[in-house]
Symmetry: C2
Subunit: 203 residues, 2 copies
């Protein structure tokens, strides 16, 4: 038994580095942080980018309300404190995905500049790509696919971004998408072009 | 402008399915949940499995104290409630990795049976592989690489699993590793063999 125990220490501990993970995937990992008003198109564009990356054999994953609010963050509400913790957790998870060699596409309103900047700070240089999906409040209110703006205007949704809670637009986003005037596919292509141009699509 | 807006609705929304992600990677995703006493070898074995999977071109990622306690769960302590929330969050993140087509290897003591079973429940059939790294308290106390058992015995570590807090061993783990008598590499190979035998290593 003593002999067998000794084998525990002969195995040299290996850590697979971030770069080795990037090499296996043939591209880098990064966080693509989509931010903007409700109904601005964040989630639809993120899913379109995810689909296009997948077709090109790249590894990506969308973190959005569907898989986060029902799971990891189901114990959080919409108060300013809970929104901050919501974004903090999403940032940390997105970072893990990026380090594993995957493009983490996050689609959350993330209205507070300070919260977004904190995520930027936990990531390395070039690993946080802030994408401002810019649609006017008017456009979003016209779309209103879930009737949320209507509810908020009627005073039935406290803390609703753009109506009863603030949205702090990014000032130095890596990418600004004009969602008032361009369609989903064109905007998704702009994101892919950004990744291509900045070397993310090779290891 | 009206024409351009219309393109928003012509893009058919695609969701990349779990199976399509598995196909891209050439293998399934799953959670490999290592549980056991402090110093039983969880993290070392998980990293050895990660390394071997990586060399074989498979996608995997280790979630452990190093990247979770300093990030996602840095606002949690070691009370029973915080341990439960710690494991819940890790389970949800591991699930996201598994759904993205990656083997999520988690290396946490996770002493409570109920907490581990809750993670099992949020995952689909076959997606949660519980791996009990079985080392006797005696073995772990002899190893004691960080001097934690010594501190706990001296009464300086409240809630230390095995000494001042309980460890509830799994009764129906998918895999039990004999860490008293076998070395790291042999145990890692047992995990790989389990994945191979049960069809996880192909899509």
């Amino acid at each position: 038994m003593t002999e067998q125990k000794a084998t525990n220490v002969t195995w040299h501990e290996h850590q697979v580095s971030k770069d080795e993970r990037f090499k296996l995937n043939g591209h880098k990992g990064a966080v693509l942080w989509f931010t903007g008003l409700s109904a601005c198109g964040k989630s639809t564009i993120a899913n379109a980018v995810d689909y296009k990356l997948h077709l090109a054999g790249k590894h990506s994953f969308v973190l959005d309300g569907d898989n986060i609010r029902m799971g990891l963050n189901k114990n959080l509400g919409f108060s300013p404190e809970d929104r901050t913790e919501n974004i903090r957790r999403i940032g940390e998870v997105a970072k893990l995905f990026a380090y594993s060699g995957t493009f983490a596409l996050t689609a959350f309103i993330s209205p507070y500049k300070d919260d977004r900047n904190k995520v930027r700070e936990v990531l390395g240089a070039g690993e946080f790509i802030e994408i401002y999906v810019n649609a006017s409040l008017e456009t979003c209110e016209q779309r209103d696919p879930k009737g949320l703006y209507k509810k908020a205007r009627a005073g039935n949704l406290p803390n609703f971004t753009g109506i009863s809670a603030p949205y702090e637009a990014p000032e130095n986003a890596e990418l600004v998408l004009d969602s008032d005037n361009k369609g989903i596919e064109a905007l998704a292509d702009e994101v892919i072009a950004y990744l291509q141009k900045n070397g993310y699509l090779s290891a």
